[in-house]
Symmetry: C2
Subunit: 206 residues, 2 copies
DNA sequence: CTTGACGGCTAATCAGAATTAGCCTATAAT
DNA sequence: ATTATAGGCTAATTCTGATTAGCCGTCAAG
């Protein structure tokens, strides 16, 4: 990886753990394996490093969103993927979602950084809201809605059902971000949550 | 309020919005209405202010916990309070919990500060975990468990039912912390969540 | 071969924020 | 009345961390 990019990478790691203000350009340089002044050959200043990270994130999220939209717009694609959905699809969806959020290194660091910086930056708050509230609810709402349409799940209120699906996942995620050692426990709880969710909304109860 | 305490109060306000490192002793002093050096008549240094806030919080939480414990230990007290519980009790419990967390000024500021500082301080992470995961689940688990014992709620897994009750409340709380303007929307969602929860677990379904 | 851009380094410099020194006033206890 | 203390102020001082200056080696393009 070229230095310029390694700087962003290491900076993100540090920012996500300590917050912007607690990280010194020196720390970043050290991890990159150069001296602090050399950073300035690549970025105008510390703030520019932060901004570049945000930019990169925006790009990634934009890609991600456009992909979702394309699928959302194209019923054949959806049908293709979800034509043989069943109860297990839902459980898979939950587990995959959780594990992706939890283990994807970039996502994880970015989420933690957002968590730390959200309150003093409106834009970051908005990004957080979008990534961890609005988009998950609407995207998963679409999937669960499909399942409901097929009678796999039963409800008269898809958004709230989606909330019931997602909120525990989110809560467990924050637990693991805070104390990774609780991951095993969280995974067990996740399993139980999904099984119970299936009992509550699955056709088994009808 | 005496100066010494006002310092803690204003510092907490600032820390909860900007994080420890982004707040200057000058800012605190200004809000208190004194000059920065005067702060040092009350606290050894900036860190001591932070520590005093944590101390105060520990005391409050300890009190709170001991009260819960006393109730938990004393079945007559519980019976007294919860003998005529019904579906509405559960809805009340949810709304009160949410509104208390959301509007209690001290709680709110402290929660936001914890959110910001949690990742670089094991102790704070533990406090957060306790206050917003373990304790709510165990305390509400007790209450919902009582309701289940009385047949008001039906489940074979009280902990997961409690998670289903609490996780959406927590998620909506974080939404409001981030963007208070979404409070109305969140309250509406909360209502729907609780009604749906009642449908899913209440005896109406049995 | 030689030159200029790139990216590294050391040694300043700058800026800003925490903290200390030392003084002053009010007040409460002797 | 005297004095000790609490708590405020202004004016340093100190510390720390970001940034700049200026030097140097490498290497690719001409």
């Amino acid at each position: 990886m070229d230095t310029k990019h390694k700087i962003l990478d290491e900076a993100l790691t540090l920012f996500s753990e300590w917050g912007y203000a607690n990280v010194y350009v020196n720390d970043i340089a050290e991890r990159v394996g150069i001296k602090a002044p050399s950073l300035y050959k690549h970025y105008k200043n510390k703030q520019a490093i932060f901004d570049a990270i945000i930019d990169e994130m925006n790009n990634r999220f934009m890609e991600q969103a456009s992909q979702l939209n394309i699928n959302g717009m194209d019923p054949t694609k959806d049908a293709d993927i979800y034509k043989n959905m069943n109860e297990d699809s839902m459980i898979e969806l939950g587990k995959n979602l959780f594990l992706y959020y939890l283990h994807d290194d970039y996502t994880k660091r970015f989420r933690k950084m957002l968590t730390i910086e959200q309150f003093h930056d409106k834009d970051l708050a908005a990004v957080y809201q979008s990534q961890y509230y609005d988009m998950p609810l609407s995207y998963q709402g679409m999937l669960l809605g499909l399942m409901a349409a097929q009678g796999i799940l039963i409800t008269d209120n898809v958004p709230i059902m989606t909330l019931h699906f997602y909120a525990p996942i989110y809560l467990l995620l924050t637990v693991c971000d805070r104390e990774p050692k609780r991951e095993k426990e969280a995974l067990k709880t996740l399993e139980e949550h999904l099984r119970q969710f299936d009992k509550l909304y699955g056709r088994s109860i009808a």
